[in-house]
């Protein structure tokens, strides 16, 4: 009997201990909600979720947002002060809005305690996309830039080279200028049944393709306009998007449509990438995923045939060619003001931006692009390429575009400015308006946006952006 009593007492004590320790364990674990656009872009968080939960006392809940709805979803939650997210991944163009409305925590203090090696982050990504008002508000997750992708095999084909030389009077090479882009696009546009590099085409082939959806199409125009020295505003915040150079840039873009697939105006990122890697067009401007995904034989028909180059420019009066590839999109991570455990959140940000970053930027299954100097100096990590040299060529090409990059507008209202601009551009591309009419309309709408947001605040913010771009050598008067 006594033995039974002792055993029962022992059992009760054991169960009590387990329950108390279990409850205590759950109490110290914090649930952190992370919001990021879905698919390949949230994949790195999914891969590292278990590791993070094992190393830190956190439970991770991932919220996958639609690519085009990131701003509206985050903004809605911020405005309603729901505290739904602790860590947010977003496009840098939203940073100004989020900072000025006080939705994010500054990260300088955390970075001092636990460095994320900011000196290893490429300059424009750190200075323009992670900082606002000289404070660090975000860490990079994706280092995007637009680059030129072309079919090396076609450009190097002797028959095509000879035919081009004969028709245009100069050597066939990846285009340096936007005028050459039109010539080459025209040259390679062929009908089904015609010959291309010695082979009979089974379907129509196009010289080029372009982005056609409203969310980011402005960047394809800025690639052209910025290379003529174009800017967003003048010093008094008058829009500079309907200058004669701006019109000329748009006319060049409109002209290129005749050498693009007919449905190109519906193209988003996936469709544009597919047009190139399925072998339907000779060249395109796109994000740097094209090089990595195009090297994957399970999805690409142009493995080993992809060349990367500088986004073309326009020839300036002094004879030089200015290249300004737009540093479009990119992704950064921030901690929200309502975060329940900022220190733990920063450790997650640090893991993603530093320790784990090489693994996911070098994967063809994630949508992230290199953003650290060390990423560009480790070609051997990019195993999807068939050789070290091929990986190096890819990384050098991407880096060159970043170094000459044209910064995106990141002040408050950027989303509105760019949406209106894209709308005007799409009207011009769809021939609903002439380039002049479309850009005049966009300029007048930009003025309305500026007035509604407060011209003085906007002017102040824009001037601080320009100053930062100038100080870092990314803006010229």
């Amino acid at each position: 009997m006594l033995r039974w009593r002792i055993f029962s007492l022992f059992l009760v004590c054991f169960v009590f201990t387990v329950m108390v320790s279990g409850a205590a364990w759950n109490q110290v674990r914090v649930t952190l909600n992370i919001a990021c656009d879905g698919g390949a872009n949230i994949a790195p968080f999914e891969w590292l979720k278990d590791q993070i939960e094992a190393e830190l006392p956190v439970n991770i809940v991932l919220h996958s947002l639609p690519f085009e709805e990131v701003y509206s979803k985050l903004k809605t939650e911020f405005v309603a002060e729901t505290g739904a997210y602790d860590i947010v991944v977003f496009f840098p163009k939203m940073l100004g809005d989020f900072v000025i409305n006080d939705y994010l925590l500054p990260l300088d203090g955390f970075n001092e305690k636990l460095s994320v090696k900011t000196d290893d982050i490429v300059l424009p990504v750190l200075e323009f996309y992670c900082k606002a008002n000289n404070k660090l508000y975000a860490l990079p997750y994706d280092g995007d830039v637009l680059a030129m992708w072309y079919r090396k095999d076609l450009f190097e084909n002797p028959e095509e080279q000879a035919a081009f030389q004969e028709k245009y009077g100069y050597e066939l090479q990846p285009p340096e200028t936007w005028d050459q882009w039109l010539d080459i696009a025209e040259f390679f546009t062929r009908k089904k049944g015609e010959n291309l590099a010695g082979e009979v085409l089974e379907e129509d082939f196009y010289g080029c393709a372009t982005y056609g959806q409203r969310d980011f199409m402005y960047a394809w125009w800025f690639n052209r306009y910025a290379s003529m020295g174009g800017s967003y505003f003048d010093e008094n915040l008058n829009p500079m998007i309907n200058t004669p150079e701006a019109i000329q840039a748009l006319e060049n873009w409109v002209a290129s449509l005749q050498y693009s697939p007919p449905e190109v105006l519906t193209y988003g990122f996936d469709e544009l990438q597919a047009a190139f890697i399925s072998g339907r067009c000779a060249m395109e401007i796109n994000w740097t995923d094209v090089g990595r995904v195009g090297s994957n034989p399970t999805v690409s028909q142009v493995v080993g045939k992809i060349g990367v180059g500088l986004v073309p420019g326009f020839q300036l009066p002094d004879g030089n060619i200015l290249h300004r590839p737009v540093l479009a999109a990119g992704r950064v991570m921030s901690i929200t003001k309502t975060c329940k455990a900022p220190e733990l959140a920063f450790e997650i940000l640090r893991l993603m931006a530093l320790d784990a970053s090489l693994a996911y930027v070098s994967s063809s299954y994630a949508g992230m692009d290199p953003f650290r100097i060390s990423h560009f100096e480790t070609p051997e990590a990019f195993g999807m390429f068939s050789s070290y040299e091929e990986a190096k060529e890819y990384l050098d090409g991407v880096r060159l575009n970043i170094e000459l990059g044209y910064p995106e507008l990141t002040m408050q209202g950027s989303a509105q400015y760019m949406d209106i601009l894209s709308l005007a551009l799409s009207q011009a591309l769809a021939k609903q308006k002439t380039p002049q009419e479309a850009l005049d309309w966009a300029a007048s709408e930009w003025n309305k946006i500026t007035d509604s947001l407060g011209r003085d605040i906007q002017k102040q913010y824009y001037q601080s952006l320009i100053q930062s771009w100038k100080e870092n050598g990314y803006w010229f008067d």
Partner: protein, 294 residues
Amino acid sequence: MLGHMRQWANRNIGGLFLAPSFLIIILICAFPLIYSIYMSFFSWELASPLPKRFIGVENYLNIFQDSRFWFSLLRSIYIVGIGAILQMVLGFSLGILLNREFKGRNILTSFFLIPVVISPVVIAFMWKMIYSEQYGPLNYILNVVFYLKSVPWLSNTSVALLSIVIANSWEWFPLILLVTMGGLQNIPDDYIHAAQIDGASGWQITRWIIIPLLAPVLLTITLIRVIEDFKLFDLIYVLTHGGPGMSTETLNYLTYLKGFKFFSFGYSSALSILQMIVVIGIAAILVKKILIKD
């Protein structure tokens, strides 16, 4: 005294039972509506830290001066008008055809009802594939069977809005079909037989017996479809995002852009109020017709 109370209770007991539901309706319908009207008199830019500011009817005046509003309103009317005609013609004709007894009628009827039960977003993606200029089956049929050129269904400004109307009509004509078939069951056979004995043709029976008897129910379903089509969003969002250019930007889509892309809450509230007024106007005309028919 007790008698008076009982009399009062007898008179008002219905109202008392209805009161909780009425209160809930006020809370979930009237409050947001009143709040929207209230917001429409403010400049409230959520992208900016500036506080909201009372501006009277300025939002409305700006909207009336904005050509984007008028064009988007016209597009909404186009979708509603053409869509209603297409849905009505398809749904009513098939309803008449399927009302006859033949083998496999039930299976065929169920087959036609599939679009109504599929999620609109799934339908939108399906049509996106169908409309694909290069690989879509629609253009393939045009090329191979009819030797016609491919049509840029979604990338041409003159065709894109019609493409949306077609996809929307395909989704919703079965509802008209269902209502037509239900209505036909209620028409006494005697009327049809009497007309047949008098020598009326099939067309005459349809024109002079079936259509007049089905008119109230068809007008009611048209009213529902008009209201729904005016609010069409999912198809536009998935298929075209309002583009190319502004060619498929309807009033509802514009309101969404202003509200949830630009976060101009005052302006978008004013837009939604105007949209509501337009829908109520159209609904009032149709309701009047229904009541006259009754």
